[in-house]
């Protein structure tokens, strides 16, 4: 009936600016489109908000409402409606809310009131009342007069007190709410909606309160009187009032303030009067109280009892929850009027809702399809969103199906590879167990796969290789990249196989492929050993050739020493010995002895068979030592060696003896190539240079027969030789040594005849520019 139920979309166009909801049933939907989408995706995502049970701090709080009138009095009804809704939502449920409708107007007898108070006292003796809310001044007066001992410390919110109401002297804490009706605003709105209005019919009853409002109206409307004609109808009986209004011309506004009793003493409540007025009026009816909205009036800036109840409820919750200290509670509850309009009546009077003030609440809106466009769009978007979601899910499902199929296919292929691979493939976990092995394992190591998977794989690793295997696994898991390493695995027959691993981690799994490299390693080992032996043999052989030269080298100083000594003895045996001459001789002897000692040192260094020794060395110096040693060698008979050594050559890293052996070998080869070269051209040039900042180069150039172009590829092969007495090992070993030093040995024929052998070596670390 008269209940104002506002649907979610029943809001004005200016809803986005409206920040206050009028009561619990008014739900504002600021942007339906957005929310619809949100809901759609919320559903899709299956979002669920867990309900958290919050301890209710107001569980033991009780509120008593003392209504001066009857429960069905429209204003009381609306106040209690707003109030109850807020209290309920704030945690004061029905059991904590108490209502007493006192009907004081009908029972003015003080004796009855006294009894009433006693009854109330008894009624609430079992409870504790934490807050009292009085409706209308009569109930406040009743409480203060009769109920001084009724929960005297409990604060009171006193609603609907007339302007200028004087609160009686009391110790109770009272928060008064004064009604300060603003009648101008409704008129202003009315004039905007009905711009050609010239007559204003002001309707109200003859009751004290009605007249009070009329007085306010008369005062407020004074300023309009030169423009408008005002007709105050309170001194007419209701029938006459209705008749007058029905005769009012169209350019009028009917303004109903409040009505409870007409001059004849006939009671009629405002909503009823409102409906009757609307039924007969030829002009739009505006109002002051929200009790009349829905009863034929267009609307207006209304004193909203519902809103008063709401605000009172909010204040009550604040007080009870202690959010507002009793000291901080406002001295007065202020509630402004609300602009409320009835859409049906706006349409009926053909008034444009665009003239309504911003923030107006519109009730009973009937929607055209166009008005519902956002709703439809919202629904449409929701449907679209849902449909696309469903389609997406279907597509995804199909894709997953295809992917699964292709995965199945892939894994089948992989299985096939896994089974036919000649390499040892495995998946292991980081705890050290094989999880999956391919069949080759069984033939390679002799165990069944079951046996291999029963133990930690570390148990199969050669004890010497355990350390590096563990290290590899830990590097694998900590750094997460592919690594290579080698280790030995024990076969079932007790022998060991060398495995070369390539492993990659994936989570807690290790994917690894191994290859049995035992044969290759054995061959390499053997070859290396043979090479080392041969290198030694060659060194010794070279030394054999060199002994003569070395003997010569040592013999020179020895010869000089002996001759000098004997000459000295002869000089001394003379009658007048020349002591100065003898001293000179002795000094020369000492010098020659030192020379001989140096030669012995060099020989020792060359002959010793040493493991490769790593040191930073100056290639120039190494070359000079070699050339010093072989100077005078029979091989180099009639042959000159010139050295063109680059000064400040960067240091290189390596084994001095080995590199000297290479240099020696190249020089000896060059000398051999020039056996038949005419004497003047028998020359060897040893050069050092730096082709770039990081490389040192040595070259040995001769002017001999050169290299047969057909065999230039083969000269570095082992056992290839052009010398009848040669082993063919020199260049092969030299190449091995240079490669081991990170360099390369090359040979080429000179355009002017002869050949040049050259090698490059990287400079030592720390020497880089």
């Amino acid at each position: 009936m008269g209940e104002t139920l506002i649907k979610p979309w029943a809001v004005s166009k200016t809803e986005s600016e409206m920040s206050v909801a009028c009561g619990n049933k008014w739900i504002t939907l600021r942007c339906p489109l957005f929310i619809t989408i949100l809901i759609a995706y919320g559903l899709a995502a299956g979002v669920a908000h867990p309900q958290t049970q919050i301890q209710n701090p107001l569980e033991n709080k009780n509120v008593l409402v003392l209504n001066a009138y009857e429960s069905e009095t429209p204003s009381s009804e609306k106040i209690i409606q707003g109030l109850s809704a807020v209290l309920q939502s704030g945690g004061i449920d029905l059991r904590q809310r108490f209502y007493d409708h006192l009907g004081l107007a009908r029972n003015p007898d003080p004796e009855i009131r006294k009894l009433y108070m006693q009854l109330i006292g008894r009624r609430y003796s079992e409870h504790k009342i934490d807050l009292i809310i009085t409706l209308f001044p009569e109930s406040l007066n009743f409480l203060l007069d009769m109920g001084q001992s009724f929960f005297p410390a409990t604060p009171v919110i006193a609603l609907i007190l007339p302007q200028g109401f004087k609160t009686p002297e009391t110790d109770r804490r009272i928060i008064p709410h004064m009604v300060l009706p603003d009648l101008n605003r409704t008129l202003e709105i009315g004039l905007k909606l009905v711009p050609k209005a010239e007559r204003i019919y002001v309707v109200n009853g003859a009751h004290r309160l009605d007249k009070w409002l009329e007085n306010i109206a008369r005062k407020d409307f004074k300023k309009w009187e030169d423009r408008l004609d005002f007709y105050y109808l309170s001194d007419l009986p209701l029938e006459k009032i209705l008749a007058t209004v029905s005769a009012a011309p169209a350019n009028s506004i009917v303004y109903l303030t409040a009505f409870s009793q007409d001059v004849t003493g006939k009671y009629k409540r405002t909503p009823e009067v409102s409906q009757e007025l609307a039924n007969v009026s030829k002009a739009p009816v505006f109002g002051l109280l929200d009790t009349v909205i829905g009863h034929g009036i267009v609307g207006g800036s209304l004193v909203s009892f519902n809103y008063i109840g709401t605000k009172a409820g909010e204040l009550a919750l604040d007080i009870l929850s202690g959010a507002q200290n009793i000291e901080n509670i406002p001295v007065e509850l202020k509630v402004h009027q609300m602009d409320i309009f009835d859409w049906r009546l706006l349409k009926h009077w053909n008034l444009s809702d665009s003239d309504l003030p911003k923030g107006s609440v519109i009730i009973n809106r009937e929607f055209s399809l166009w008005d519902l466009k956002y709703y439809f769009i919202g629904v449409l978007v929701f449907i679209l969103a849902q449909s696309s979601l469903i389609i997406a899910l279907l597509v995804q499902k199909r894709r997953r199906g295809l992917a699964e199929e292709s995965l199945r296919q892939k894994s089948k292929e992989l299985d096939q590879f896994f089974n036919v691979s000649l390499d040892l493939l495995c998946i292991a976990n980081t705890d050290g167990y094989f999880l999956h092995l391919n069949p080759v394992w069984e033939t390679a190591l002799g165990y069944s796969r079951k046996e291999l998977m029963a133990q930690r794989f570390f148990d199969f690793v050669h004890p010497y290789d355990l350390g590096r295997t563990r290290e590899a696994i830990s590097t694998l898991t900590s750094q997460g990249k592919v690594i290579q390493f080698e280790n030995r695995y024990r076969c079932k027959d007790g022998s060991y196989r060398w495995l070369e691993w390539n492993a990659a981690p994936l989570g807690r799994l290790i994917f690894a492929a191994a290859r049995d490299v035992t044969e290759r390693l054995n061959a390499e080992h053997e070859a290396r050993q043979r090479r080392e032996e041969l290198a030694h043999v060659t060194r010794i052989a070279t030394m054999g050739e060199l002994t003569t030269s070395l003997a010569h080298e040592i013999n020179q100083p020895l010869t000089a020493i002996l001759s000098n000594a004997e000459a000295a003895r002869r000089f001394l045996s003379r009658t007048e010995p020349d002591i100065g001459e003898v001293r000179q001789i002795l000094e020369d002897i000492i010098l020659d002895d030192r020379r001989a000692g140096d030669v012995v040192q060099k020989v020792r260094a060359l002959v010793r068979k040493e493991k490769p020794y790593d040191e930073s060395l100056n290639l120039n110096k190494a070359i000079e030592e070699v050339v010093a040693l072989i100077r005078g060698d029979s091989l180099l008979q009639g042959l000159s060696i010139s050295m063109e050594l680059k000064p400040n050559l960067k240091l290189i890293h390596g084994d001095r003896i080995q590199l000297q052996q290479v240099v020696l070998n190249l020089i000896v080869n060059s000398a051999a190539a020039m056996r038949n070269t005419p004497q003047p051209q028998r020359k060897i040039i040893v050069r050092t240079s730096m082709p770039d900042n990081l490389t040192v180069q040595l070259s040995v150039t001769d002017f001999g027969t050169g290299i047969d172009e057909n065999n230039i590829e083969r000269i570095f092969e082992a056992f290839y030789t052009t010398k009848p007495e040669g082993l063919g090992m020199g260049l092969s070993i030299s190449q091995t040594i240079i490669k081991a030093h990170g360099g390369n040995l090359t040979a080429s024929n000179n355009p002017e005849g002869g050949a040049t052998f050259a090698f490059t070596l990287p400079i030592a670390q720390g020497e880089a520019p």
Binding site: T548, A551, H552, E553, N555, Q556, P557, L558, T559, A560, I561, L562, S563, N564, E566, A567, A568, R570, F571, E581, I585, D588, L591, D592, R595, R631, G632, S634, Q637, G638, L639, S640
Partner: protein
């Protein structure tokens, strides 16, 4: 008659060896002249005195053996004492074949060297003497008439006067006169002297 002072030449690329040898020779009262290379020695014109050459067999550039060849080509008769760090058989054989006096292996005792030097010088003196004698004989040979030369050749080859007369188709008496002339011109006291001269001059022995 006092002997001419001998000069000992030393060729060795090793300065310290060179120096020590020079000292040793000086201590034995020889005149020593040192050279760092064969080339240097070849440029030097030796004085016409007895002496010998101490030569390092192994040197850069022209080696000791090569120098020996060059000297024999130039008809230098200096006896050569080779010194070497190590005796290689082929080198020493080659050296001796080419007329090396001695072959010493370094290091050597002073007496070894000095003995070799003294032997070498003695040999050089003898050589020089013989060369001188031959030179005189050759000059005397130049004075013979062709007929006398014919007679000399045949007599020196050991033929009797009668055989010579028959060979040349003249009388034995005439041969005797020619023979007396040859003996006189050549300064021979006896037939034995004449045969010896012929031998020195390389005459007669080849004729038959």
């Amino acid at each position: 008659m006092t002997e001419e002072k001998a000069v000992v030449y030393v060729v060795d690329d090793e300065p310290s060896v060179r120096k020590s040898l020079e000292r040793l020779l000086r201590s034995a009262d020889y005149d020593a002249k040192t050279f760092a290379s064969a080339h240097e020695f070849l440029k030097f014109s030796c004085s016409d005195t007895p002496g010998c050459l101490i030569l390092d067999i192994k040197m850069p550039g022209v080696s000791g053996l090569e120098l020996q060849d060059r000297l024999s080509e130039k008809d230098v008769s200096l006896p050569i004492i080779f010194i070497t760090g190590h005796g290689t058989v082929p080198a020493s054989v080659k050296a001796f074949k080419a007329g090396a006096m001695d072959f010493l292996q370094k290091p050597f005792k002073d007496t070894e060297l000095l003995d070799a030097v003294s032997r070498g010088i003695e040999k050089h003196r003898r050589l020089r003497r013989e060369q001188k004698e031959t030179k005189i004989l050759r000059a005397r040979l130049e004075t013979l008439t062709p007929r006398e030369r014919e007679v000399f050749d045949l007599v020196a080859s050991g033929m009797l006067n009668k055989q010579v007369a028959f060979d040349l188709g003249i009388t034995e008496k005439t041969i005797k006169v020619h023979r007396a002339r040859v003996m006189q011109k050549m300064g021979a006291q006896s037939l034995a002297d004449l045969v010896r001269f012929a031998e020195k001059l390389g005459i007669g022995s080849s004729a038959s």
